[in-house]
Subunit: 150 residues, 2 copies
DNA sequence: GATGGTTCGTCCAGAAACTGAACTTAGGTG
DNA sequence: CACCTAAGTTCAGTTTCTGGACGAACCATC
């Protein structure tokens, strides 16, 4: 299997991973959620090749995760903003952050804190069931083929 | 920045991405959550180079995400099982699945359904606040530096 | 005891991806 | 005019990934 074949698999993970499943794309998304919007800012913060920034931003724009919008004319300059589809990735990003906090935070603690504006508390993301609203763990779920299976 | 430098960043995303942020690693984890345990099974299901399977499984074992346990002697054969640290990745995997279901499922619907044993319903994962238990969206969160910041 | 099968790898040459550094474009500043 | 910014593009050299062959250790069958 090649990278490009992933998008054609009858699997939501494969199709998502085809878009976001690469080191730099995930780092770009992290920065996007932290408010970074400009090419130069992504490049400076990540310290990676401009080629890769160009390529990954283009992929994310093509997939509708980011939108490229001009913020000035003469010369025209663009910034990259998360679309709704991009914002929908927030649970993915937070789940990754939380796993890192759990298993890779030093004794100093988490590098970032997240405050839920509605209740005012620093929080951790908890995955719950959309039907009964209880927290869900890996062993409490049965997986089976759905209507979109091969 | 090089790939190996990611693990040293004061950022839980970077540290997690250093372990799981690569296409094939995420696909291996998907299969692991679906019950796949053996080298040959991973290789056959993914159809990728055996070299990569070897390398990724080794990384995941070194990181404590998978455990390599013998299931027979003469000849000794191992299988790869999710550890607790690996099971802790379930919210990450489910968040990715859900995003794929939302944005890449065809008209046929989701390729896989997930039933919550406790309530018996097929469900979607919902990210909620650990403190007030309400669902949380990207715009309802303020992020700031924590104790483990650089 | 020779042949073939299973499982879990290793090795290698060629292809693809990534890197750093220089260059381009289109304008703005002093 | 010389220098600066933002957003890329181009390119040679390096690293990583790929498919396919090969190896090791055992089992089954004839």
């Amino acid at each position: 299997m090649k990278w490009d074949d992933l998008a054609d698999q009858p699997c939501s993970i494969a199709r998502s991973v085809a878009v976001i499943g690469d080191r730099w794309t995930l780092m770009i998304l992290r920065d996007a959620f932290l408010g970074v919007r400009r090419f130069e800012a992504f490049q400076t913060r990540l310290g990676i090749s401009r080629t890769i920034i160009t390529e990954r931003l283009k992929l994310l724009v093509d997939e509708g995760v980011l939108a490229k919008v001009p913020y000035q004319d003469r010369p025209v300059r663009h910034e990259y903003r998360l679309t709704q589809k991009g914002l929908d990735l927030y649970p993915v990003v937070m789940a990754i952050v939380h796993w890192g906090d759990q298993h890779y935070a030093g004794q100093a603690g988490a590098p970032l804190l997240h405050r839920h504006k509605a209740c005012g508390c620093d929080f951790a993301p908890v995955m719950t069931c959309s039907e009964c609203h209880a927290p869900v763990g890996a062993r409490e779920v049965e997986t089976r083929a759905g209507p979109g299976a091969a």
